[in-house]
Amino acid sequence: MQQEKDYTQKFDLSLWRKLLRYAPRYKKHLAALAFFMGVNALIDVAFPLLTSYAIDHLITDNGAAPTFFMSRAVEIAQKLLHCPPLTAFIVLYVLLVALSVATIYVFLYLGSVIEVGVCYEIRSQGFQKLQELPFSYYDRMPVGYLMSRMTSDIQRLAETIGWSLLDLCWGVVMLLMCSATMLSINWKLGLAVMLVLPPLGVISVWFERRILKAWRSVRKTNSRITGAFNEGIMGAKTTKTLVREEMNMEEFSGMAQEMRKSSVRAASLNALYLPIVISLGSMATAWALWQGGSQVLTGAMSLGVLQVFVNYTVQFFEPVRNIAGVFSEMQSAQAAAERVMTLLETAPDIVDSPEVIAEFGDAFHPKKENWPEIRGDIDFEHVDFRYQEGEQVLKDFNLRVKAGETIALVGPTGAGKSTVVNLMCRFYEPTAGEIKIDGVDYRKRSQLWLQSNLGYVLQEPRLFSGTIRDNIRYGKLDATDEEIRRAAQLVNAEPFILRMEKGYDTDVGEGGSRLSTGEKQLISFARAILADPRIFVLDEATSSVDTETEVVIQNAIARVLSGRTSFIIAHRLSTVRAADRILVIEDGQIREMGAHRELLRQKGAYYKLYMSQFEEERAQEILGS
């Protein structure tokens, strides 16, 4: 299992650029976003200038005071509207407000288009990738881990791409324009005021990092607490029988206290940051007021201009904070981006060769017209197999199965029964040797060709959300309702289906949770039979169902198997007995092979297994009734 990395030290811009390649159509949007953000920042810079114009030219009429294009703008408005300067000023102001609202709407629009769109694009490609990756990948990656990559990680990086850039543009333009205006009014004073910027930046970066780190530790503790609740509730019965309540409580109290501590720490850091930044900013304001005020007394500066200065110094910290925030945000989202990137770039280790794809198509675009008919002869020739980083499971495994034959695999857990089946289905490929289907190495055909001719019923039947009908139809997507009914009838699932409130249209719940195990099994048989596969694989369930269902299932199996090549990992006496050939597998080798009676006569491994395993089965039958 891979550990989740959640923090990377180095900021890596190329990673983000690479990610954007997966959603190329949003590059235009990003450029537009940057542009409108900049425009919005310009408008934000203009508002204090308007106020200053009002003070200097409308109220006090200080003709000498600089107006930064405002008087020009007002004059133009005056000429166009033939109105007094005050009206022109108000019109101008309202226009600016309208412009600002428009840019705000546009950049919010672009931001959400990018966020939602990038999310969708990358998620779609991630999903497609997951459909291509082999089982060995799924063995390594727990489902929860893949889920969080596909949901929260992708969400996170899309947010970062959409909104961080926005903050960055706004911050940079705002900072530049404020500085430029101040320098142009009074470069000495402006420069002096701007002295607070470097410490402001350093402090911001320092805090943003610490705060992010602190929140991360809060989140970690939080997930431990969730785990503790989960365990406390699921294990409550056990806890009671072991009288562990107090000890559990002590452990939990420790965790709850730690949670409090880390949360308060994060909140305090957060609460400390802004006041420090604002206080630092207030020094700039004080300086501007002192120096500027003295100039107002001597007439070197107007009241309005002083007001602009003071205003900008108050606004200064916001862009700085924005920019610092963007960098730490991107740094922390980078871990999510890296995880998603790894998923997108993982190369599947079972692939069809280009020639095979050219002839038979891939998993998404099959060329069915070129697919050869399948008979169902299967040959294992000198097959070796090991799971990744595992020990050898099969060594020089040989087996020849004729079309239509039923093979039962028995033997202890971990002997390699499932491996044989997995290899047959090409869920894994042999590390040496070859598996031939109808005399041809299956690697010379497409995966989809084999798997489309395969029926597969799992020990734990897996259904999908939807109705019973949808689930059976999964075996053959274009099946008519009549075909679906026939399949259900064939495995004798119809009686229970019709007993349900909505019959075939009954919703099975998530993963089929509203059905019993036996019912789920019957549905999965119907699904498999509808596909009408040439090769059938059955991993027989060990969990007990009631006797009546048991009989129904046995009959269903018999019908499903007839006339097909089939492999059964068998646990039940009746299934094993009905097989054409029984393979007793131990340590990746075929220990005994033959028909039921032959093997019994040998009084070997099969006989022993038969006696002990089936004795229990019988006892269960009596007790279960």
């Binding site: 003070i55 919010l108 999903f127 806890t239 305090s268 802004l274 007394l297």
Partner: protein, 602 residues
């Protein structure tokens, strides 16, 4: 119901009232300091720099006069600068303390709620946990607590702060110029209402987006867990299309939500800016007419600027404050469930006497009786095996012995003492029960075996594991004793789990030891091995084994056969095989299999 929730919230706040009132005071101080800055600026512009009359209270002017009057201040503007910095520091300090204290208060409440819930859930009776829905309970303990916490930390003080800001702003502005104050606040109620109503209204869009996300996650989850089915049927393309559809739906729903929010933000931004514009314009008109000074203009524009944001927040907060009360109610529902009562009178007698069931009847929660007028005796120090069909009440018998449930009628005594009078913890500590479906904690194998004791000895842990036939696979595990079990660790097979569960029960000081079908998950040989070890371990321990294995049953001192809530047969192996009944039927399977075998071979 509503008042109950309010009382509950009140109680939570009351326990940390020091911190909460501290935070409230700091809020007041911060608001005051923030508003003093524009006032000081205005005074500087008007009084010190332009020589207009002062707008400050008399005591301030007395200080200024003491220093040398407004002219002195104009020449020494650094004093004003210093005051500005001081005000800003004061506001900063107050804000910091407020943030810290409100977080401490809120986190205290969260910690106490969490601990209380955890403790309470553990103390709830067994019967509650049999029916409990884990997911829902966990949700209540985590996200609902979090909602309450957020309300206390973020929302409560924001509401207070917004109200204080409005109050202070109103007083100051009204005193400066009532008519102007009216103009500059004219859109405030509208802004507030807009925010409030919008967020009430947009809830549906939020829910639709959440629901679409849930549907998408469900498809993803099912695809990932059902990957074998997908591949076996070659349904990759179909799955991609299915996912795309859900993903697209989520995209569209989210997008719709975003569009609504975008409209909200731009419209409310526009309203705020128009209000600022209106304020400035009216100020300018008033100033041109000489009704107000430039300083007053500065005061009005900056006050309004400060006020608009909190107003918008207030509407938003109030519109979803209801959520936290719903969460509180959900939490309270758990806390209202009655726990196992304290029993100060309970006794702690020795437990190695005979166990006697005397006319015991029992049923789960008003359902049909599982045990019906059942009587039997388990002699002290003996090994007793119970055989019974599914649903015959075997498990209920052992649950009653640990007082996980109480009989409806009749009595159960150990050494003559009614177990209903025996101290629960004491009883459970001395009656070892291995459940049919054991739960292992997400800890190491070592911790799991030693889990029942506070400070288990290493030697005892090893011995218990050996006796439970678990030592072999423990040492074979990748990290041996330190192997982590559960969600984040390795998955053990059913038999391995059972053996760990047996080992951890053996660690306790058991007078009575019960195996609720727990040996069935291991193979016959291991079963025998464990029973051999048990025999050597405790000679006087009364052992009860529920099983359907003839070998296991046959070696017991006494066998009880249960059918339909009653003991229908009892005796030794020899006695029972001689009689017709469930036991002899099971026993005869072996003979039948032999016969079948002969038949098949010939």
């Amino acid at each position: 119901m509503h008042s109950r929730r309010l009382r509950l919230m009140g109680r939570l706040i009351a326990r940390n009232r020091g911190l909460f009132s501290g935070a409230a005071l700091c809020t007041l101080a911060a608001v005051t300091a923030d508003y003093c800055t524009p006032l000081l600026l205005a005074e500087t512009l008007d009084h010190y720099l332009s020589g207009l009359p002062s707008a400050m209270p008399a005591f301030v002017n007395r200080w200024v006069d003491a220093l040398g009057g407004p002219e002195y201040m104009a020449r020494h503007l650094w004093i004003v600068g210093l005051l500005l910095v001081a005000l800003s520091c004061l506001s900063g300090l107050s804000n910091f303390l407020r943030g810290r204290w409100q977080s401490q208060a809120g986190e205290n409440v969260a910690r106490d709620l969490r601990s209380q819930l955890y403790d309470h859930i553990q103390r709830l009776p067994f019967s509650y946990h049999v029916k409990a829905e884990t997911g829902d309970l966990v949700q209540r303990c985590t996200s609902d607590v979090d909602t309450v916490r957020k309300f206390l930390i973020n929302q409560l003080m924001s509401i207070l702060s917004a109200i204080l800001m409005i109050a202070v702003a109103l007083t100051v502005l009204l005193r400066r110029n009532a008519r102007l104050a009216l103009y500059s606040m004219i859109m405030v109620p509208g802004l507030f209402l807009f925010a409030y109503l919008f967020f009430k209204w947009v809830v549906k869009a939020f829910q639709a987006s959440d629901k679409a996300e849930g549907a998408m996650s469900a498809v993803l989850q099912e695809n990932l867990t059902g990957v074998r089915v997908v591949r076996a049927f070659g349904r990759q393309r179909y799955e991609v299309e299915k996912f795309k559809e859900k993903s697209l739906d989520f995209k569209e729903k989210t997008y719709r939500l975003c569009r609504l929010l975008n409209v909200y933000w731009s419209v409310s931004d526009g309203m705020s800016m128009l209000q600022s514009c209106l304020t400035l314009a009216v100020c300018v008109i008033f100033a041109v007419r000489g009704e107000i000074t430039v300083g007053t203009l500065v005061v009005f524009t900056s006050f309004i600027g400060k006020l608009l944001w909190p107003i918008r927040q207030l509407g938003r907060i109030l519109s979803d404050a209801g959520k936290s009360f719903v969460s509180l109610e959900r939490i309270d529902e758990i806390l209202r469930q009655p726990v196992e009562p304290e029993e100060p009178e309970a006794v702690k007698p020795p437990l190695h006497g005979d166990i006697v069931f005397d006319h015991v009847s029992f049923g789960y929660d008003g359902q049909r009786d599982v045990l019906r007028d059942m009587s039997f005796t388990i002699p002290a120090g003996k090994t007793v095996a119970i055989l019974g069909a599914t649903g015959s009440g075997k498990s209920s018998v052992v649950h009653l012995l640990q007082r996980l449930f109480a009989p409806r009628s009749g009595s159960i005594t150990i050494g003559g003492v009614d177990i209903q009078t025996i101290d629960r913890s004491y009883l459970r500590s001395h009656v070892g029960l291995v459940l049919q479906e054991p739960f292992l904690y997400s800890k190491t194998l070592r911790d799991n075996v030693g889990i029942a004791l506070r400070e288990p000895e290493a030697a005892a842990i090893e011995q218990a594991a050996r006796d439970a036939a678990a030592l072999g696979f423990i040492l074979d595990s990748e990290s041996g004793w330190d192997t982590l079990v559960g969600e984040r660790g390795v998955t053990l097979s059913g038999g391995q789990k059972q053996r760990i569960a047996i080992a951890r029960t053996l660690m306790k000081d058991n007078d009575i030891l019960i195996f609720d079908d727990s040996l069935s998950a291991v193979d016959t040989e291991t079963d025998a091995e464990i029973r051999r070890a048990l025999k050597e371990r405790g000679k006087d321990t009364t052992t009860i084994i529920i099983s359907h294995r003839i070998v296991t049953l046959s070696q017991a001192d006494l066998i009880l056969v249960m059918e339909d809530g009653r003991v229908t047969q009892q005796g030794t192996h020899r006695e029972l095989i001689a009689k017709d009944g469930l036991y002899s039927r099971i026993f005869n399977i072996q003979t039948a299999l032999e016969a079948e075998f002969q038949e098949e071979v010939n």
